[in-house]
């Protein structure tokens, strides 16, 4: 036990030293007060959250350590562009921390029920259709809506209501396609089908969901109006519908989503591979939490989080390796978009809530065994 604890503290000390040293080195070079502030703030926030007593607020430390390290790297990456960029990214991460606690609290207080499932699904579908009803609105939540829709669908599945779950997922895909966001729709559909396969246990229902989603995709491709379809090749037709980019793949990595490449440019390839390994550790922790859960709702929620984060990371890496000609968004936690950061933190909060529920189940078992003696 002592060895285990000392190993954890060594890893934590190494992490804090790395962030403090990196920010201090950049601050001493540029002499910026913002970077000196980040030298104290980033390790301080990581230390505070990882040493927060479980009695005060239970958080899942392994997944939190991986997620916060990736967030710290997302603050460290834009330092070369200027201290103000790093400071604004730090403020985005700090604002996203609110959703970490929101996700954990939601998972602790929510019990799967029919009104709750309907409410969550309606809220998510309403958020997804917001830019369709109000075209001039600057807010168009896509990732956040998919996170809420995931909870609604998981709640339906835990109540053995497969048809409403399937209809909600198809409505979500339809709205993603109407928003001309086929990549998010594809990631959501793939995650839902795998979740449906794992939760429902029925190959027939999985086949129905697969055929419905595939049919919706084909229907959308056939019905999308094209600017100049006469004599256009398949590639240009797809690029006109924003399914495939007309230019080469590196063009698809937009500057606002290129923190991953900035990190590799500054610290080298091995550092980049370590960041990917951190994401893999986060996925393994999510799978472990799903396997430890006793109720289907918590297991499905952990699996959904694992799938949405994992498929997004996989799509980004495939795009990076020229194996996927699609604009694949950003790597988890390494994004400049506030909405994506908030969604990732919300997922981390969901994992923390499931971990707290598993701990509560274990302590209840211990109490019952003590009473039986």
């Amino acid at each position: 036990m002592r060895k285990h604890v000392s190993f954890r503290f060594r890893v934590l000390a190494l992490l804090l030293l790395f962030f403090a040293g990196s920010f201090a080195l950049s601050a001493s070079r540029s002499g910026s007060a913002s970077l000196w502030l980040l030298t104290a703030a980033v390790p301080g926030v990581i230390l505070f959250l990882l040493l927060l007593p479980s009695g005060l607020f239970p958080l899942d430390r392994p997944s939190l350590a991986a997620g916060l390290t990736l967030c710290g790297l997302s603050i460290l990456a834009p330092v070369s562009f200027g201290p103000e960029e790093a400071l604004s990214q730090a403020l985005r991460c700090a604002a996203a921390l609110f959703f970490l606690f929101a996700g954990a609290v939601l998972l602790r207080i929510y019990r799967p029920s029919l009104p709750g499932s309907v409410l969550l699904s309606a809220l998510a579908l309403g958020l997804l259709s917001l830019p369709l009803w109000l075209p001039g609105i600057p807010l168009s939540p896509g990732d956040g809506a998919s996170a809420i829709l995931l909870l609604g669908v998981v709640s339906f599945l835990s109540l053995r209501l497969r048809l409403p779950a399937l209809l909600c997922a198809l409505c979500g895909l339809f709205l993603f396609l109407l928003r001309s966001d086929p990549v998010s729709g594809g990631i959501w559909t793939l995650a839902f089908i795998l979740l449906f396969w794992a939760s429902s246990g029925s190959s027939l229902w999985t086949g129905i969901s697969l055929c419905s989603a595939g049919g919706l995709f084909i229907f959308w491709i056939l019905l999308t109006p094209l600017p100049d379809s006469a004599g256009a090749s398949v590639f240009s037709r797809l690029s006109a519908m924003s399914v495939v980019l007309p230019e080469s793949v590196p063009e698809s990595i937009l500057p606002e989503d290129s923190l991953f490449l900035l990190l590799g440019e500054q610290y080298g390839l091995l550092f980049l591979l370590s960041a990917v390994l951190l994401a893999v550790l986060l996925l393994i922790r999510g799978a472990s939490l799903a396997l430890q859960s006793r109720k289907q709702f918590y297991a499905s929620a952990a699996l959904g989080v694992l799938l949405l984060l994992g498929i997004r990371a996989l799509a980004f890496l495939l795009n990076l390796a020229d194996l996927l000609p699609l604009p694949a968004g950003s790597f988890p936690f390494l994004s400049l978009s506030p909405e994506t950061l908030c969604t990732d933190m919300f997922f981390l909060g969901i994992l923390s809530g499931i971990s707290a529920r598993n701990e509560a189940d274990l302590s209840e078992d211990v109490r019952l065994s003590m009473l039986a003696r």
Partner: protein, 110 residues
Amino acid sequence: MKTMRYRIRVIALVLVIAILGVMLWCARALFFPDLAVFPLSPENSSVSPSVSPSLPASPDPWTTTPDPASLPQDPWAPLPQPDLSPSDSGVPAEITPVPSQAPLFDTFGL
């Protein structure tokens, strides 16, 4: 719930293996950009034009037909006999007469 746990294991394993595989693919492409994946195939020869751009790409000996003139001659074949028949000038055709006093650069006959 038991089946679900089994399927969760399968999904997590496939996802992690896929991410690690793509990560290794990216690392291979960055560390060893000229490493052939299938070295025995004719398309991926070990010496690619990107390694030595000054050298011309050698033709594939398995697919191209060799030029008969470039093949080595048979050392036992009979030597060609010189044409010793008299021509109009009385000199055998094999011996070309060289003008003794012709100017070297008198191209236009000036």
